[in-house]
Amino acid sequence: MNGTAPSVVVSDLVKSFGDFTAVDHISLEAYPGEVFGFLGPNGAGKSTTIRILCGLLRPTSGRATVAGIDVARQPEAVRQKIGYMSQKFSLYNDLRVIENIRFFAGMYSVPEPVLPERADWVLKMAGLEDRRSALTGTLATGWKQRLALGCAVLHRPPILFLDEPTSGVDPISRRNFWELIHLMAAEGVTVFVTTHYMDEAEYCRRLVLLYRGQIVASGSPSELKLEAMKGELLLVECEQVGKALELLQTGPGVLDAAIFGNSIHVVVTRAAEAMPGLTKYLSERSIAVSKMEPISPTLEDVFVSVTSRRGESPEEISVQ
């Protein structure tokens, strides 16, 4: 991204509610054309950060600019530069497709002369050209989702915020949706995605993992899988999976172990070195191992590894 100015700049951002620090000295930059994923458990500070960036919440300290505008000083101006879409879609089910488009165009102050052209663009993008008069409530989820996206970008904002946009959507619709997102990114839009669904995170160019208000890891999905994980992952298939899990949790060199169906995922420091020892350890305790091999971690493995090494369950902060 050489030579391009970042569209979102966050420096040393802090937001406290009483003695609880929801956002704790976060700094980041996002560039035009980037699909930027914000990952974290409930209460990690994702929505607080997004609300600050949308100009809805004033930071306690630090600074954030969106499209060059200071969010604390000019919150109204920021809102013209952003689009926002949540998993709830915020469409009116009892309005027709075209009426929803007109409603959102009014909200975002889209000038009357350009409205027909923008409306056509949204209908085309969402594949709804033949259904402009259909009641929104009768549309299938995939279509509703693309209509919601279209309504969120009617005013052509340079920055788009998506909050868990595809949870529960069927995989084909989801792929079509991400196709659109990548198309917008290709046109220079910065797309911020907040989610704790790992399959949504896979579609992001760059990811930031938030935990207790702080950034604990960042990078592309493949970088995170290669680098952020503490240790390496082994797949173990054996008899008596339940008993084997118990043994493995206290096994030599084992950092973590979890069951997946008929197999066990074991985190160790070095896979190659740990394998002979673990096979022996299990067989000495009369568990025959049928398969043991290194596997590549998923984003979920990375997520659990990065957050659990920081102590208690992340849940504990989300309930205060």
Binding site: P41, S167, S173, R205, G242, E315, V319
Partner: protein
């Protein structure tokens, strides 16, 4: 109930609502000691299936037995031998965690000695032991779901039906949740769990993949992936869109999907196509970091199976 019989047996189960066949001739079985997943997107028929198996919805046709009881002729027998956690499981926000558990223990008629032991085991597994005095209304989404599970499991049923229990639950709590489920298998219960996260199939012993009320596949996660025709190849590149345009129409490539840092391609034969594709990309001087065969996901399989007849027609 016969020895070694199925805990759940569904045969050509069908449920129609006006204008839609929610569940279409669905057949599967679940054995004691097994975690069985009903997996599919919203509208696949998961909730309708669970409601029929719980004895609260009557099928239009077909047959099902749960814990040995016919769901149509003996729904009360079913209800007495299962635990059913619906998506809107009733927790009382103005009761504490302990009080909610006590309430459900009373409903299920548990003795005081039994309930205390079971409650503390379950709370421990949920990582919630320190939160007994907290009001349920003050819990986060993940914790609420875990408390729901603890309440649903406070008695020891033969069959557990869970409707999207991990919806909206973050990954760390999801692991706790699954930990509790695995720990119950020692009691030889059968667990039927529905989820719209395709990646959760990996955690089940067997899964039924559903789409618009019909069964696409039913197998173990590993066997399931063998149904994919061909292999999946990942190319990590900074310019995935341009790369896709460039590779469109390549021989042996049937599908391409943009992911965050590259492209996933479905090819007929990885051993042959990976070197071919690498050569094409390199000879055009396209920026890319690596190209390699990756394990197909259940989503890849789903997309291939459903093909163009997606849920949008």
């Amino acid at each position: 109930m016969l020895e070694n019989s199925y805990a759940i047996e569904a045969h050509e189960l069908t449920k129609e609502f006006p204008g839609v066949v929610a569940v279409n001739q669905l057949s599967f079985d679940v054995k004691p000691g097994e975690i069985f997943g009903l997996v599919g997107p919203d509208g696949a028929g998961k909730t309708t299936t669970l409601r029929m198996l719980a004895g609260v919805l009557t099928p239009n046709s077909g047959f099902a037995a749960v814990a040995g009881f016919d769901i149509v002729r003996d729904p009360e027998g079913v209800k007495n031998n299962i635990s059913y956690m619906s998506q809107r499981f009733g927790l009382y926000d103005d009761l504490t965690v302990d009080e909610n558990i006590r309430f459900y223990a009373d409903i299920f008629g548990l003795s005081r000695a039994n309930r205390e032991r079971r409650a503390s085991t379950l709370l421990e597994a949920a990582g919630m032991s320190p939160f007994g005095k907290r009001f349920a209304g003050k819990l986060s989404g993940g914790m609420k779901q875990k408390l729901g599970l603890v309440c649903a499991l406070i008695h020891t049923p033969q069959v557990i039906l869970l409707d999207e229990p991990t919806n909206g639950v973050d990954p760390v709590s999801r692991r706790d949740f699954w930990g509790i489920l695995y720990s119950l298998l020692g009691e030889n219960v059968a667990i039927l769990i529905s989820t719209s996260y395709l990646d959760e199939t990996e955690r089940c012993h067997r899964v039924a993949l559903l789409h618009q009320g019909s069964l696409l596949f039913c197998d173990t996660p590993a066997e399931l992936k063998k149904n994919l025709h061909g292999a999946v190849v990942a190319v990590v590149s900074r310019e995935p869109r341009r790369l896709r345009d460039f590779l469109t129409g390549s021989e042996g490539v049937s599908n391409m999907v943009l992911v965050g840092d590259g492209l996933h391609l479905v090819v007929d034969d990885a051993a042959r196509r990976v070197p071919e594709l690498r050569m094409r990309i390199e000879s055009a001087n396209f920026p890319f970091d690596r190209i390699e065969e990756v394990t197909p996901t259940i989503e890849d399989l789903f997309v291939q199976a459903v093909g163009s007849e997606s849920g949008e027609g």
